[in-house]
């Protein structure tokens, strides 16, 4: 099973990466190398094996549903590449009605 260049472009769209042509070529090659490695896993019969998502079992961590102080808005927005401090929001390109 080998991935085509077009399939790699499709994955890049899902991953929101605007790959340049040479990057697409390189990644196609690399992903196919890795897929060849993954093929070894198919040797194993795992039909009745439960999956492990977390190696150490932990019970659901619950806490009292009480309000707690959070970071001040100014502190959170300080890292924004483009913000409107007066409105208290991050500026993004127009999303609706493009």
């Amino acid at each position: 099973m080998a991935l085509t260049r077009e399939e790699v472009r499709g994955v890049a769209t899902l991953a929101r990466l605007d790959l340049k042509d040479n990057e697409t070529d390189r990644l196609t090659h690399h992903l196919n190398d890795l897929l060849a490695q993954f093929a070894r896993l198919q040797e194993l019969n795992t039909e009745d094996v439960p999956p492990t998502a977390h190696a150490v079992p932990v019970a659901a961590a619950l806490r009292e549903d009480v309000a707690r102080p959070s970071l001040p808005r100014e502190a959170v927005m300080a890292n924004g590449p483009q913000v409107d401090r007066e409105l208290g929001g991050f500026i993004v390109p127009q999303v609706i009605g493009e």
């Binding site: 070894r40 998502a53 150490v56 127009q94």
Partner: protein
Amino acid sequence: MELYTLSARELADKIQAREVSAREVTDAFLACIERVDSDVRAFVTVTAQQARAAADAVDARLAAKEEVSSLAGVPIALKDNLCTTGVETTCSSKILRGFVPPYNATVVEKLSAAGAVSLGKATMDEFAMGSSTENSGLFTTRNPWDLTKVPGGSSGGSAAAVAAGEAPFALGSDTGGSIRQPAAFCGLVGVKPTYGRVSRYGLVAFASSLDQIGPLARTVEDAALLLSVIAGHDPGDSTSVPRSVPDYRAALTGDIKGLRVGIPKEYFAEGIATDVREAVTRAISVLEGLGASVGETSLPYTEYALPAYYIVAPAEASSNLARYDGVRYGHRTRNAQGHIDLFEKTRDEGFGDEVKQRIMIGTYALSAGYYDAFYLKAQQVRTLIKQDFDRCWENFDALITPTAPSAAFGIGEKTDDPLAMKLSDICTIPANMAGIPALSQCCGFTESGLPIGVQLMGPPFSEETLLRLAHAYEQATDWHTRRPSLDKK
């Protein structure tokens, strides 16, 4: 004796006995950074001013005869994926250049409460993806034992800083060997704790089910001291385990008589360099001479750990790294046409090659139609790997293996061959997949003078056993007393 050659424990004792001030200690390490870091390049950011202020605060408390904590005035280096209030945290990525966290990681808070003095932020492979720091989006760190070699990775800056005497110890993070492999390459003790032992709150996430923060130090005692400070339950990390934290130093009794140490044969197979195999075999004899009982064992699914890891870790990474979109922090493209273009261009410009590769493989493995074949399969294999270890714990208290297949390789030697680079983690990845604790320490040197690492692994929450074994070995050998010749400049 130069202050920067002392262990963290010796420094803590001298500061508390007021034989030396915290400020003198911090200044000694800052001077060492000044002297050697242009060669070693271990630090992304040196926080000299904050460090001096923190040291002065410790001195003021001591002068006022106030109680101080265990690490009062002891300097430390932090891997640059640990959030630090007011100090840039880059993950060695262009996409996080300029990111100044508004909060501290829990481990940073704990260190601060213990009186430790942060010297700055250490280089890493971008987002901790790599084994050499060559994937850093900023610059590559060099191995203090030989500046033409890599320090290992991803916590290469943390390891190089400690080996070069720029810090007495450091924090790293380990997802597939990122503490232990650089510890091996730089001749240090490195501990990956049991998954859940140390809070990950404020650690920039790579693969959330595998990541753990842990110490890099020159002695087992220093690693134990640091682990005692950072371990423990934290409501901020729902996977941290509510379990009391022992004083790990109390475990260093020197008595390992009767401890059963297994040698899994798969870790000594083809691909392990002869000098590594010989050094580890000698280390096994030393443990046997100290009274440990040694026997061969087998972990038959070992060879499947690497391919399973390269599904699980990138899958989790592709999800964790979805947050870098140029909206709330970090890099943002200057020429976007619409919001989708903003995301795509920002990410293409900000992420390096290795990070893109892993995002791509992870996205593919999680995408519709492939989930069962890849991600589910890898998680099932993960169960088999874990069961392999569980069977071993019926007969053994710990397992001993090489940490890495070879000593440090040359800068540029493996950059054109991503698969060869990934094989560097073949001995360390299984412990992350199984969530078990593992430790690397120095067990000798190659003919050309590069350190060799030996790894100990144990059942969940057996850090005390691993540290006890390592400490006994360290007391019986003198590898840990050697220093790279940078110091002599």
